[in-house]
Structure formats: C-alpha cells, structure tokens
C-alpha cells in the first residue's frame, strides 16, 4: 500500500488562496448567472422608471426628459377621495383574505396528511388544486351566473327560505363571495407547500410519540405543527409583503358599479390611471403599494425574529 500523502491542515489553508476563485466557484456562478440576469433585467432595471412617480411624464420627452414635479403626484393621489377609498378597500380585503385564507391551506394539508387511503388523498389533492389552474376570466363568468339573483344558488336558497340573496350587489355578500371564492381558488396550491414540509418531518418523531402513547391529535399538535412553524412563518411574512395585492384578477372579473364602494382597490384604480396615460400618478400608486408592502414585510420579519429569539424569519 502506498502511504497516503501527507496533508497537513497547514498545507490546505496555505494552498486554497492560490487556486483562483474562478477555478473553484466559476461553475457555480455560471449556474447562477441566468437567475442574476433575469432579476437584473426584469426586476432591477425597470426600477429606473420609479422616478416617474416624481415626474409629469410626457412620452415624447422620455423618462429622463420629463419635468420633475416633486411630490405633486402623491399629493394629488392622497387628496383624491377615490384613491383613499381604494387604499382602504385594499387593506380591508387583504386583511380578510389573510385572516380567512392564510390558515385554510394549513388545515387542508393537515387533513390530507391524515388520510391513509392513497388514491383518495391524491384525488382530494387534485380536486382542490385544479381551481388554481383556471383563469379568473373564466371563473368570473361562472360565479356571476351562479350567484346572480336568478342563478342556481339563489334558486336553491329559494327552495328553503324564499328570499333571494343579492350576492353580487350587496357590499357584505360581495366581500364574502370574494373571500370564499378566493380561498377556494388557491387553497389547493397552498396546501402543496405545507404537504411538502410535512413530508420532510422525520418519521422517527411520530414513531417515538406513538411509543409514548400519543394519539393522532397529540401528534398534530406537538409534532406536525411545531415542525411546520418555520414554513408558516416564512409564508406569513411573504404574504404580508403582498398585502397590497388584494387580488386584481378576481375583483376585476367580478365587480360591478353597485359594489365599487367596497371593491375598488388600488390596482383597479391604477389600471384606470394607466388607461388615461397618467404614468406619473400610476407609478406613484405602485410605489406607495411597494413601500407599504416592504414596511410590513420588514416589520413582520422583525416580530418573528424577536418572538423566536432570532431563530425564525427570512432575513
């Protein structure tokens, strides 16, 4: 047997810097490059355009040639009653979505995890996932028909109580419809993430708890949920960052003049501005959205870190 070459720790540390960085990590950077380019091109470069929020944009003069107007665009937005209403509606709808929509996929994932008949589990998973693949343009049409005062839902209600419910023109019921159909639309997709996290929990924990006499309920409470906590926290923080996105597609395809009062959100408002070529105002609208989203994200992260002594959080 040939003796092993002597590789002292000193030898290693002395050699490392002499191998170029490029030789050691070049391949990794090559792999990273497409993602970096993607972010640079589609996420960072367009940010130049944010200066439009402080300008009166004239296309012919270009982004840099247009005149600066300071905070005029923001002043105009905040003195506009429609924008203030839209901002309020966005918060209300998002908060409702978060309260009712955030936990639904967790519950679904926990329940799916308890199913032992594999084909049934797969079937439920598929059925709950499918709505996510359907566009709101299609779903909007379906729901408008289903929930109209002469539609099947109201016909069924009429069989029992007799008085039709104006789901689409009553403020409360419209919000109810938004939230419920929103949850229905995305619950299956959300559950997949949690199911993946559950799959990563060590089976030994469950086995050990069974030995200790834990029943299913104990296992969910003391093993599954605590193990899911990091995923839940990360998703909650990310969700908070998106709180200003109150679901444009869905609302745009469902709303009507009678419920503008509760359903006109920042995005629908910004779309109208864009259609009027008001680039300055609509950039300002989006900047406000982003700043609020970022603020909430940072705050939520800080709270998560403090509550867990720095163990959880995304940064």
């Amino acid at each position: 047997m040939t003796p092993a070459p002597s590789l002292s720790p000193r030898h290693l540390t002395a050699r490392a810097p002499t191998r170029t960085f490029r030789q050691r990590h070049g391949g990794l950077f090559l792999l990273l490059a497409p993602a970096l380019v993607y972010f640079a091109v589609f996420h960072y470069a367009p940010m130049v355009g944010l200066i439009l929020a402080f300008k009166k944009f004239i296309s012919a003069e270009g982004i840099f040639g247009s005149a600066w107007v300071g905070l005029d665009n923001f002043r105009e937005l905040f003195t506009n009653p429609q924008f203030r209403a839209a901002l309020g509606n966005t918060f209300v709808i998002s908060a409702l979505r978060l309260v009712f929509g955030f936990f639904a996929p967790i519950v679904l994932a926990l329940m799916l995890n308890e199913l032992r008949v594999l084909w049934f589990k797969k079937a439920v998973q598929t059925v709950t996932y499918i709505p996510y693949l359907l566009s709101w343009v299609i779903l909007g049409g379906i729901f408008l028909l289903m929930f109209s005062t002469t539609g099947p839902i109201n016909q069924a209600i009429a069989q029992f109580s007799g008085s039709p419910v104006s789901f689409l023109s009553n403020d409360f019921w419209f919000l109810f419809l938004l939230i419920v159909t929103g949850v229905w639309h995305s619950v299956g997709y959300g559950a997949v993430i949690y199911l993946a996290a559950i799959a990563g929990i060590s089976p030994e924990l469950y086995e050990a708890s069974t030995v200790d006499g834990a029943n299913r309920w104990h296992q969910v409470r003391h093993i599954t949920l605590p193990s899911l906590a990091p995923t839940i926290v990360v998703l909650l923080i990310l969700n908070l960052g998106h709180i200003m996105n109150a679901g444009f597609d869905q609302i745009y395809n469902l709303y009507n003049p009678v419920v503008y009062g509760v359903s006109d959100i920042v995005d629908t408002y910004a779309l109208r501005l864009l259609m009027q070529l008001e680039f300055g105002l609509s950039t300002a609208t989006d900047l406000i959205k982003s700043v609020i989203g970022l603020g909430l994200l940072v705050a939520a992260n800080a709270i998560a870190r403090r509550a867990t002594n720095g163990e959880q959080g995304i940064f």
């Binding site: 130049v48 004239i58 012919a60 259609m275």
Partner: protein, 581 residues
C-alpha cells in the same frame, strides 16, 4: 480580466452586469422627439407642398378596429394602393382592446404614421404625449377642401373631437344614419298579445302596464312567475375605458333628460344627469325594479348587446334596449342573423316589434343621438412633420373620397358586380364567395360583414358616405322604418357632441361617470333612498363637475368660432366645389 481576489470578483461581476443592463435599457425610456413645430411653421411646411401622384410613398397605417377579420394585402388595400400610388403597411387590433393595445404600441415608441383614435379624450391624451402632430385647419382646408365641406354639412361640431388647446390634431369624421337617428327598443310582440296588449306601448304609463303584465301574466305560458319586464344595457363602464352609462336611456328621455351628456338648460350648458328630470326617472325606475319589472341582475350581467339579447332569447324579459339594436334590419326575417331570425330559431313563431320611445308625463321622449359624428378621428404620427408628402397624400385621398362617391363605396364594400349586387329587398348584397364572413372580412376589411356605408368605421374610408349617397343605397322598406320609428326629432343630442370633448374631462369625467352609475343603480335597486340623488348632485359638482361645467360653457361659445374659422379658410382657398354626386 477577472481579479484574482475572491472578495472583489462576485461584486464586480454583478455590478458590471447591472450597470451594463441599466445603460442598455435606460435609453429606451428616454426617447426625445424634436421640439414640436408651431402652427405657423406647420402651415408653411404642409401647405407649400403639392401632392405629386407620380411619387410612390410607403405609409404605416392603422385603421379603425372595426375591420374584424381584416388581412394585409386585401382587395381594398390593393385598390387604394393602386389609385394613390402607395405601399401600405397595415395592422389590426381587436375592437374591444384597441384602446389598450394602441397605448402599449404608442408608449413603446411604435407610432403608426396614420391611425384612428376613438374620441376627443384619446386625441387629447395622444397630443399631450407627443404621439400625434397638429394638423392646422389651414392645411386641411388647403389639401382637403371637399372633405371639409362634407364635414361642415354633416357634422359641423365634429371639430371638437380634434381640438386640443385651441389647435387641431386630426381629421374628425362624420356619421350619417347612426349618428342622426335614434335607435328603438325591442318588444316581444307575441308576449304583448298573450297578456292582452294589442298596440306597442307608446307612453311611459302604457309601457309600465305592459312590463307589469309580463311580470304577472305568465307571458311564456309555463305556469310560473319567472319572467320580468325589461333588460337594459348594463350601467357603468365595463373596462375603465370611460364608456358612458347608457342604461334606461329611453326612460330618462321620457323625462327630458339625456343622462350621459351636455344639455342646454335655461340658457346654460349642464350635465343631463344632474337635472331634476333625472330624479323623476330614478323614482320611476326604482318602483319598477321593486315590482320586478326590471331584470333583477341587470347591473351585474356582462356588458354588451350579446347579454341583453340573450335575456330576450332566454324568455326572461319581453323588452330590451341595447346599442344599435333597434333598426330596420333587426326585425327582418330575411336576414339570417337578424334578431328576429335568431329569436325565432329558439322560439318558433314569436314575433318581435320595434318600440316607441315612451312619452313621459310632460310629453318628452327620445334617446341619445350624435350631431353627425359618433367619434373617430384620423391622426398622424409626429414623424410626418419630417415627411409632409405622406400627410399631403392622405389628405388628397380624403378629398378624392369626398368628391367621388363611387370611389368611396368601392373602398368600403368593394366593387359592384364583383363583390356585390344591388337588390331591391336587401340593398347591397354580397356575391359569392364574398357572402361568407371569412372571405368578406379578409378581402373587404370587415366591411363585407356590415354592408354599411353610413357609419364611420371604414378601415381606409373612415367616414360616412354623404347623406344623398346613403339615401340612394337605402332600400325603401328601411327608409320607411326610419321615418316611422327613428325620427331625428326624437334624438337628444349632446350640445358638445360628446361628453369628453370638454378639456378636463380626461381628469374628472371617468370618476364622475362611475359615481353616477353607482348612485343611480343603488337608487334603482333600492339600496339607497331617492334622496341619494341630491347627495349625488352635490358630490358631482364638488368632485370636478363644477369645473367641467364651466369649461363646457366656454367650449359651447368656442365651437361657433371654430366653425367660422374653418369656413373662412375654405373661402380663402376658393377651391372648386365638389361635383354634385
């Protein structure tokens, strides 16, 4: 090239990539056009030039979006190119997304040399962003005098469509039948007979009685109370494009109100929906809705004629009012796709009947019409200031179309004997294979579908035929229908042509239209009391309405001045009058 230092390397590479990208992308957003020329300079540039028919020109053309199914290289395009020594680069956009897609194209820097804008608001926005060039009145009078005389005769107020800060930014178009004559509602005559009504309702009282019997008298004979009276056009705008609220027009008309435009009231220009008559109309509609005379979901149905029609076909209602849904062709069984034919395919034997505009308590009646133009402005990209020969050629083309009705008709529906024949029963009737939708659309740019020469939607001839040419191509039965049901005196017209001709409309009108649609609908469906109307008027005035009203009154005075100016330029040109068609 790369630093050997492991620390600096990634930071440098990332920064270099970012900087390179910023530098390469940023300039695309900082296009800078030449400083716009003054009116006087433009007059000098454009008027000094004479069209040289020998010179071959290439023009990038985006016509009106109503050329559904149109294709590049069509017969119409070849015809135009041959006559005017042109090569055209044409493109098409779907009618419902035209405004959005066009804006994407314009802001992306791809400005067509000649294109179509829907209304005054679009023209104003395009001018503000430098997407279109001013075309002085003098230039139009110099190069297209015959067209301007047609415009003066058919739509003298159309200049409001292209007016921006006292300057003219395009060629406004005119429309004959559709703009001049009001369109009726549609009754299910069979239902009327079944509930014991012999005569189509003529007054508001009679209308209410008929609608009530539709609700209670089981007109569909199925033993259930599952029918309603009427279905109107859905209120409000569908897509943020500022479409005006057209719901219940004929009911507002019965109270002397045009709810979506500028009216003269006690010597001043006012917004129709703020007049006391609107309150009375709302009280009536509120009662009707509560009693089930109006389709309960009218405000949430998808917007458009298709949905309004489908409520009639489904047997839910016995009276509908749509957009351009009440004219001669609608009630004729001889046209396979007429409303009457489609309805009978579902309900054999059921007859439809044109409605009368209901007469209100004070004798008012009517619905909105336009004073000769339903919008549509042909505009020119700013690059044509540097290529004035193209602009002059297009104006020469407009003038030729205005002088020569035969050329106009060829550029709208094709050649007689090749694409169509005249038929006393049908009017213009397509020959095979142009009688199939696909062939007609491709070769005749959508015009083959409509056979109409009296709208302003032509892709290459974007205005209407002169009235006498339209009359010559209107079959007697259609004319009789118009004289009976669509009398011009029943049209309520906007004194400023359209709501958004007012300068600040782009800023306030949309939200005021939304406010109006929401409040009126809430009152009608009983969500808010009738007193909400008074709050609406206060809010309407405070949230921009007062400003708009002031401008509307100024514009009203200004429009006479523009007309006089154009007339003076025409006189100065002393060009020969067009030959009588």
């Amino acid at each position: 090239m790369f630093s050997a230092s492991p620390k600096k390397y990634p930071a440098r590479i990332v920064l270099t990539v970012l900087a390179a990208l910023w530098l390469s992308l940023a300039p695309s957003g900082c296009r800078r056009a030449a400083t716009p020329a003054s009116t006087a300079e433009l007059v000098t540039t454009f008027n000094a030039l004479r069209d040289d028919p020998q010179r071959h020109l290439e023009i990038v053309w985006l016509g009106s979006p109503y050329a559904e199914g149109g294709q590049p290289g069509s017969w119409l395009q070849r015809r135009l190119e041959e006559q005017f020594n042109l090569s055209l680069e044409v493109s098409f956009m779907p009618v419902f997304s035209y405004d959005k897609l066009l804006k994407l194209r314009l802001t992306g820097g791809q400005i067509p040399e000649v294109f179509w804008l829907r209304n005054a608001g679009e023209v104003r926005r395009a001018a503000a962003h430098g997407f279109i060039t001013e075309v002085p009145y003098e230039t139009l009078a110099h190069h297209a005098p015959a067209y301007l005389r047609l415009l003066e005769r058919h739509a003298p107020d159309a200049w409001l469509l292209s007016l921006v800060d006292g300057r003219n930014f395009g060629i406004p178009t005119f429309t004959t039948t559709v703009a001049r004559l009001p369109q009726t509602g549609v009754w299910n005559r069979t239902w009327l007979e079944r509930v014991g009504i012999k005569k189509t309702p003529g007054t508001l009282v009679e209308m209410e009685e008929a609608l009530r019997r539709f609700r209670t008298g089981d007109p569909d004979r199925d033993g259930q109370q599952d029918t309603f009276g009427m279905c109107p056009w859905r209120p409000g705008s569908s897509s943020g494009s500022g479409t005006l609220d057209r719901s219940f027009e004929e009911i507002f008309g019965a109270f002397g109100v045009m709810q979506n435009g500028w009216m003269l009231h006690e010597g001043r220009v006012v917004w129709g929906a703020t007049l006391p008559g609107a309150r009375l109309a709302l009280e009536t509609l509120r009662r009707w809705y509560a009693d089930g005379l109006i389709h309960p979901d009218y405000m949430t149905l998808p917007i458009g004629n298709l949905e309004v029609r489908s409520q009639l076909f489904k047997g839910k209602v016995g009276y509908i009012m749509g957009f351009n849904l009440g004219n001669y062709g609608v009630f004729e069984k001889k046209y396979p796709t007429s409303l009457q034919s489609l309805h009978q395919a579902i309900h054999p034997g059921e007859e439809l009947a044109p409605g009368w505009f209901p007469i209100g308590p004070d004798g008012h009646r009517g619905v909105r019409t336009w004073d000769g133009s339903i919008g549509g402005v042909i505009v020119f990209g700013p690059q044509l200031v540097r290529a004035p020969e193209k602009l002059v050629r297009v104006l020469a083309m407009f003038d030729a179309l205005a002088r020569d009705p035969e050329l106009f008709i060829e550029l709208r529906v094709g050649r007689r004997g090749l694409h169509w024949d005249w038929n006393e029963d049908y009017g213009i009737r397509k020959r095979a294979p142009y009688d199939t939708r696909a062939v007609a659309s491709a070769e005749l740019m959508g015009e083959g579908i409509t056979n109409q020469i009296d709208n302003n939607y032509g892709y290459f001839a974007p205005f209407s035929a002169p009235q006498e040419v339209v009359d010559r191509h209107t079959i007697p039965a259609a004319r009789q229908f118009q004289e009976t049901y669509m009398r011009p005196e029943w049209g309520l017209s906007d004194v400023l042509l359209m709501a958004d001709t007012v300068p600040s409309a782009y800023k306030y009108l949309h939200r005021l239209v939304d406010l109006q649609a929401t409040t009126f609908t809430e009152i009608i469906i009983g969500k808010r009391p009738i007193e909400a109307f008074d709050d609406f008027v206060v809010r309407w005035r405070a949230e921009g309405g007062d400003m708009l009203t002031r401008e509307a009154n100024e514009l009203y005075l200004q429009k006479q001045a523009i007309r006089a100016r154009v007339a003076a330029f025409l006189v100065a040109e002393k060009s020969p009058a067009p030959p009588a068609p």
